[in-house]
Amino acid sequence: MEFPSVTDDARRPVLEVRGFSLKFSRDADAPNLVDDVSFSVGTGETLCIVGESGCGKSVTSLALMGLLASPPAQRVAGTAHFEGKDLFALSERELADIRGNRLSMIFQEPMTSLNPAFTVGEQIGESIRRHRNVERRQAREEALEMLRLVRIPAPETRLDAYPHQLSGGMRQRVMIAMALANRPRLLIADEPTTALDVTIQAQVLALVKNLQAETGTAMVLITHDLGVVAEVADHVAVMYAGRIVEYGTVADLFDDPQHPYTIGLMGAIPSVGKREGALATIRGSVPSPELMPSGCRFAPRCPFAEQRCIDAAPPDKVIAGVHRVACWLAPVEQVAAPVLREEMA
């Protein structure tokens, strides 16, 4: 693929994923667990990938980082360009140079992602020294600076603390400090606040937003929490069973949700406003990989599903601007009076 010259750098997405498909099987007939996923994120932007367990959001991010063991993971199709380089074409060595440097990741569980045997300062320092030729002392200085940046109280003492001596919120801030130590161009954050209390979550989200504004880091934030999405996203991709079912700006998604899954998801979340009846539910459960529906993957759970939904996967329909939805029937208000299906299986 041709890429424009360096002068167009600012307009070129930091990450551009096209038609990415992945499966965990050599069987050609096995369904793709991530299917034809495309998205991009530009400098200083935040893309949120939303979905429930098993929708493929974490697998996608791990694949991009080159952190999925292959086999069993098999990339079936697609490209992922990061700063113009095809991530899937890089050697393990080239990837290792980018990871933790230009491209960083924050994981959900701060306790298991930090090494319990090394101090916080050593771990942040290591990620600095791995990628840059600096003295141990300077790395320590920089690590201290990072701890200040993520507003850890008494950073001088905390530098020599072990992970178990820190609270969950502080550990997550250490993870962020480590991920940002080399000023990455792109940060992939997988449920970075899910394990945290609400007041700590607010602190961490504000922190990430501020740092992003300062450094222009692009961010792909993976979450199941629509509140977090409303708070930080510029663009949103809703994933269901390995596919992006709806994509748009954050305003598109909240003001004009199109896909029945997006609608069901939004109705299933309790509001902090005054109670209004029972929650909407999405009946059934996520299909297992062996039993992936062949048409629209949401059809068995969708209250609107018709025969064509079961027969064929819907193509993307452009609503307006970047807003697109993969549904034969959207918007649902144009669907005629309820047609009941004979069997509920």
Binding site: E52, S53, P153, S167, G168, G169, M170, D197, V198, T199, I200, Q201, A202, Q203, L205, A206, H224, D225, L226, G227, V228, A230, E231, A233, V250, A251, F254, D255, D256, P257, P260, I263, G264, L265, M266, G267, A268, I269, P270, S271, V272, G273, R275, A278, L279, A280, T281, I282, R283, S285, P303, F304, P331, V332, E333, V335, P338, L340, R341, M344
Partner: protein, 385 residues
């Protein structure tokens, strides 16, 4: 709200409905804590004492039959410990627990076992709380056998099947093992097990927080239906404020082992009085991108429960703290509407305009489409019956 609900004719097992109460303003609460206190540690080990964790400190409140009462707070605030103290799963250091007006603080043996049947718990982690070596039928059936609730083995099997149906599972699942089920299904099994003893009171310790959004909605709706149908009293120990707003009648907010505010759910969310409640509500993420606003973050970290601050425990992080707060512990003040708040200066803070209600907005298109979605789903569900 707090009146006991009559079981509907369609209730799967109409049992344990609270005795019809006279139209009095203060019916005997189903469970009551008086100055309940729990300290962990502080024991001597070889040459040193382990630090004392002041987990729950002089907590008092009463829960009425038929109510959904929420205990909310952040990690380490003592909410789970409090839930276990109420059920006598752990013993208190001080204070007393009353069940239907009777002091059960020191109950032992057979009377305690009887209590255990009437007071059940649903745990947070559906993966850790079910014995992997037991079939679902055995897990759910154990309380039935233990308390002799079925006349014979046929009756036992029928009761297990009935319980599984009640929580929306197929009776045939009785022969399977927990690992064969998803998180949501396991939580349903945990609920069926809790219902097996025909309880009057259920404590849910973060019962939905490990579940995906759509599954969480299913389990929340199930708990609400069961509560209605079986006339249960529900105590929800949780940290998710939206879940609490949705489910509860009254809410107790805990901070470092103490209840700082207790109020009806709408009053609490619309006009929080305690500075900690205000901070907690302010930290809730926006409900739409149009509601984004700067959140004045709560400063500092939670102090260690081994060394809680003197005076008001929140004074080290409170934006309104004055010297007095560091010296004198505030007593919980009871207002006219039954609301309680433990803050020296709540009136001044209220007058200063803190604690504005949360802005929430839902787009008209979502409201319209959600209505169609629900309509469709209801039509499908009735066609499937």
């Amino acid at each position: 709200m707090t009146t006991p609900t009559e079981p509907t004719p369609h209730a799967p097992t109409p049992h344990a409905q609270p005795a019809s109460q006279p139209a009095s303003h203060s019916p005997a609460p189903i469970i009551e804590a008086r100055s309940l206190t729990k300290h962990f540690g502080g024991t001597r080990q070889l040459f040193m004492r382990t630090p004392t964790v002041y987990a729950v400190n002089e907590v008092s409140f009463a829960v009425q039959a038929g109510e959904t009462f929420a205990i909310v707070g952040e990690s380490g605030c003592g909410k789970s410990t409090l839930g276990r103290l109420l059920l006598r799963l752990i013993d208190s250091t001080d204070g007393r627990v009353f069940y239907q007006g009777k002091d059960i603080t020191h109950e032992q043996g057979a009377p305690l076992r009887r209590l255990r049947r009437e007071m059940q718990i649903i745990f947070q982690d559906p993966f850790a709380s079910l014995n992997p070596g037991m079939t679902v039928g055995k897990i759910v059936g154990e309380p039935i056998a233990l308390h002799g609730l079925a006349p014979d083995s046929a009756g036992h099997r029928e009761r297990v099947a009935q319980l599984l149906r009640t929580v929306g599972l197929q009776p045939a699942y009785a022969n399977r093992y927990p690992h064969e089920f998803s998180g949501g299904q396991r939580q349903r099994i945990g609920i069926a097990r809790a219902l097996a003893g025909e309880p009057k009171l259920i404590v849910g310790d973060e019962p939905v927080s490990a579940l995906d959004v759509s599954v969480q909605a299913q389990v929340i709706n199930l708990l609400e239906t069961l509560k209605q149908d079986l006339g249960l009293t529900l105590i929800m120990v949780a940290h998710d404020l939206a879940v609490i707003r949705h489910m509860s009648d009254r809410v107790a907010v805990m901070y470092l082992g103490e209840i700082v505010e207790l109020a009806d759910v709408d009053a609490l969310f619309d006009a929080p009085l305690h500075p900690y409640t205000q901070a907690l509500l302010r930290a809730i993420p926006a409900s739409s991108p149009h509601e984004r606003r700067a959140k004045p973050a709560l400063s500092g970290d939670l102090p260690s429960p081994t060394a809680p601050p003197a005076g008001c425990r929140f004074h080290t992080r409170c934006p309104h703290a004055k010297p007095h707060c560091a010296e004198v512990r505030p007593v919980s003040e009871r207002l006219d509407d039954g609301r309680q708040v433990a803050c020296h200066f709540w009136r001044e803070i209220q007058n200063a305009g803190s604690g504005a209600p949360l802005a929430t907005s839902v787009s008209p298109k979502l409201i319209e489409r959600l209505a169609i979605y629900r309509e469709r789903q209801t039509a499908l569900a009735s066609a499937g019956d």
